[in-house]
């Protein structure tokens, strides 16, 4: 299992488009994928779940992946956050 804390660096925060990107990326992998924000833990493959976090600019999330391809999953998702989901 890999846990990784990540900060939201795109100004608009986790709105519909980035949420969709994350879910689509996570669906390609076989590992379990969860995102944790304070006391909320959601399934990273659920679009409503990811949007429910209402993660704003500057907030921190914890990515939790568990499975055979966990490393690759975390790597791809982390890259998306760092690239600000192609925004700005």
């Amino acid at each position: 299992m890999i846990r990784k804390t990540i900060k939201i660096v795109n100004k608009l925060g986790m709105h519909a488009r980035p949420a969709t990107m994350i879910v689509k990326a996570a669906t390609k992998y076989r590992s379990d994928f969860k995102i944790v924000k304070s006391d909320m833990e959601i399934n990273g493959r659920s679009i409503m779940g990811v949007m429910t976090l209402a993660a704003e600019f500057g907030s921190e999330l914890e990515l939790v992946a568990d499975g055979v391809d966990e490393e690759f999953l975390i790597k791809e998702i982390t890259k998306m956050f760092e690239d600000k989901f192609g925004e700005d």
Binding site: T27, I42, S46, G49, T52, A54
Partner: protein, 322 residues
Amino acid sequence: MKKLSVKELYELKKKDLSLSLITHPNTMQGDITTSFLNRPGLALTGYFERFDYNRIQILGETEISFLQSLDEETLYNNIKETLVYDIPAIIITKGLSVPKQIEFLANEMKIPIFTSRLSTDKLFNSLRIFLQTVFAETKTIHGTLIDVFGVGILLTGKSGIGKSECALELVERGQRLITDDVVKITSKDDILVGSSTNNYGHFMEVRGIGLIDVAKMFGIQAVRIKKRIDVQIELMPWKDNMDYERIGLSNNFVDVLGNKIPIIYLPISPGKNIAVIIEVVAMNHISKLFGYDAAREYTTKLQEELKRKAMIREKKNKEKKQ
């Protein structure tokens, strides 16, 4: 551990509990860490064994009249000894007035005193209910909550197995959606209550279509804000060698926030109408509450017949021998 600052309590419940602060505002600096309340009774007499000082202390008519009966020196000493403890707040009920020394000492020791116009019983009740909500354990899980004939059914299962679609069909059949995809569960007084994590409304994602608004589409009768969770149904892909429940005599339970709720593992295969099965689960649950258990009923009848047949056989055998 969860906590609530005394300031927050005052701001949130000032009106409902008709509270007013009689000590200096800077006395409000502590935190409330438990939903329990305490009536200090014996502590005021100087007995401090098992004194639950970390709870909010409630002083009613009994305590106040006791304090008034004391001579000034005893009163001063007893109160001083009591206030040495790190008490989050003291509430005096029925709008009773407080002996001046107490107010003076509380200001000195930085312990806030409130008066409330409510009776002790009323204050106790509403404050307890409020604090229980604040300190209730919560967790969010991936699933869909739907009210089926008044039974709160929590649908769980892997992403894409069809929870939302199933909920949609149930809604079309007249059942009510509480929340889709993310359920916030609160445990209060051994009851699990599920609700949405936000107040955006009853939105749902249907794969291939996108987001839909269930309340707008199916009307207000198709939704609910919150519901007690009675049964969990885990949807899973059909597996040939999996051991599914066939009779229904043994019940499986799952632990959610320390509460046990029945869980049903429901295999899904093409051509199966899951919505109808879920309604059947709900009706079966209700009928069990009414004391009728179909599985038990059937097996009892079967056992009786087996017994009767065995007796006849025995009789015949005896006749043959004679």
